[in-house]
Symmetry: C2
Amino acid sequence: MRKEFEIQGCIEVPPEVTEDEFWNTFIGFVESKGWSFGGGIREIQDGYYILADGSRGRRVLDE
Amino acid sequence: MRKEFEIQGCIEVPPEVTEDEFWNTFIGFVESKGWSFGGGIREIQDGYYILADGSRGRRVLDE
């Protein structure tokens, strides 16, 4: 039997935590348990998605 | 500035890991970093959501 837990939510971090740091810490945790993650993360600043080029995208709540 | 990372994905675990164990481990990790999580998790077995009463719900891919 294949078991997974779907996660939909947000983790709030201090402003100085970069996306790379967050990703490496999160994946490090998952792998330290022998688990695996499939999916993605998106950075949000003050309620707006941050695009790959660092610019501000749309508001999260406008989805 | 408020910074969050939105997570949308699945973590695959061994079949013996219960939802309570997963939740406690996941939240323990988040809190150990001084971060906080807002959102939810759903259990999936063999591609089907598992309902609160333990029965099998709809297929994940039918969403």
